[in-house]
Amino acid sequence: MQDINIQLPSILDQVLQSIPYFKAELALIIAFLGSILATLFLDKAWKQSSFLITIIGIIVSFVLSTQQFGQPQSGFFGMLIVDNFSVYARGIIQIALLICVIFVQQHFQNKKFGKNLGDVYSILLTAGLGMNILTMTSNWLLAFIAIETVSISSYILVGYFSENKKQSEASMKYVLFGSVSAAIMLYGLSLLYGFTGNLDFTSFEHIQGLIEAPKILLSIALLFMFVGIGFKLSFVPFHMWAPDVYEGAPTPITTFLSTVPKIGALVLLARLFEEWTSSSFFFSELVLILVSVASIVTMLAGNLIALRQTNIKRMMAYSSIGHTGFLLMALVGNLASEPQVLLFYITVYTIMNLAVFGLIDTLEQKIGSAQLENYQGLGKQFPILFSVFTLLGISLVGLPPTAGFIGKLFVFTSIFDLFQFNNNRYYLILLVVGALTSVISLFYYFKIPLFAFLRKGEAVNILPTKSTWIVYIISIILGFSTLVLGIFPSILLSLFK
């Protein structure tokens, strides 16, 4: 106790000095409080006040985080790492979050329900806060708090509206599955803490403790830890919640769930992976094998099950599971190359998913359904929409001349480099499965143009809704940007230098 009294002033000084590194997140926190207050008091006078505060908060946070570019620092006793990798990741997260907020606002604009939309904006901000923190930490405590922040926010987002049976069922499945995963992860972390006595997974003591730990217990602890991360990334076998939740949740919330939370969890896993696989001890090989096997199984399962889906949201859920497998492969490839490959693929994935779900939302507002058979013959009624949809399908498969192709090409190249370097058979299997599943995915993405353009169907009555055009235009712009980035990938790559 005596020691703490002496150290206290210096501890406080360091905490105060670290606050500037936390500016971008503070902006989100202030916007969160502001949007709650605006929901309570200002929304009666002017309905859009909380929406405006949310948008301003995200933009301010984006600007503040870009200012941290190029000055690697660490604050709060090494708990918070501000480096270029985290600046890029936070930039992507905040842009995606901004688009999700606009989608939410547009989707619920002319729906009558007894709940306040301002609450959804504030919850989206806390989810963004958790994601931001997740990208800039290597400390298990902070990582766990961030994961739980995002998870609890996501449960509320899915369950908040509960307009019908399906939505409440989806939220219950999500909350039960998520809490169990978090509890198992917490137990794994407690074992890791027991082995090492240190919570920072990049520290010397942590690595030293992992080297000396008994093998069986260490395997259990790592498996438990991967359960939590696997739930957030939804890789197989922790993917069961994803299709149900994606189908049940309102489409703008699905847009959010399929993009933003994955970025943060992936950046955390990338830091962990880079630090832990650099040695040749037991735990390094175990982590490498776990991630490679998860990647292979996820790519196969996601793409194969997607083949027999009839609901487009459910199909996109399995497609995003398949893409998670590919993102894990990009993570492994990250060992050989700069983080640009991973960041490029994350960006492209985010753009494609935002655009696809934006288009699904537009169609859902217009024809009132997300079933594939209801798209029959709609190609004539919405030629531009379905052309962009087809383009996005091409990009999701990974065919030239789209950004999806360039992303996959980079990942395959870096994995091939790794394979030539040390002839590990896991890399070869990753390559084969990655190529194979890309071919498989062709069959279900092309169902969309097949139904829309080649099947005959009677003309559909367009529901009299207004105000879907902002979502529509954003999706069209994002769709064309995949084409632009496919032809000129250097735009994005020079940004990630």
């Binding site: 766990f144 219950m172 809490s179 803490y193």
Partner: protein, 101 residues
């Protein structure tokens, strides 16, 4: 003399009981209780291990945060289960299967 091993054995038992409660799902509230047991097992571990970490007390701080987060997620979980009950008039997860392949 109560050693570290005693704590670990007790926490492993609590964790297994919690996991069994979750897997033998009959009632969504029981699943939440199982989750709570698992989290408490982890917290017990953290506090027990923290005896050997006298510099940072990382384990005890983690335990405090874990308690808060567990309470938050259980509160959200109960609200959602109440919502499900309004729609389905049951909270047995086996009977709530509108969404499936």
């Amino acid at each position: 003399m109560i050693t570290l091993t005693h704590f670990l054995v007790v926490s492993a038992c609590i964790f297994c009981i919690g996991l069994y409660t979750v897997i033998a799902k009959r009632n969504a509230i029981m699943i939440l209780i199982g989750i709570e047991l698992m989290i408490n097992a982890a917290i017990l571990n953290f506090v027990a291990f923290s005896k050997y970490d006298k510099i940072n007390y990382g384990g005890q701080v983690f335990a405090l945060f874990a308690i808060v987060l567990a309470a938050a997620s259980v509160a959200v979980g109960l609200a959602i289960i109440l919502n499900v009950y309004r729609h389905y008039k049951t909270i047995n997860p086996d009977n709530i299967t509108d969404l499936r392949d």
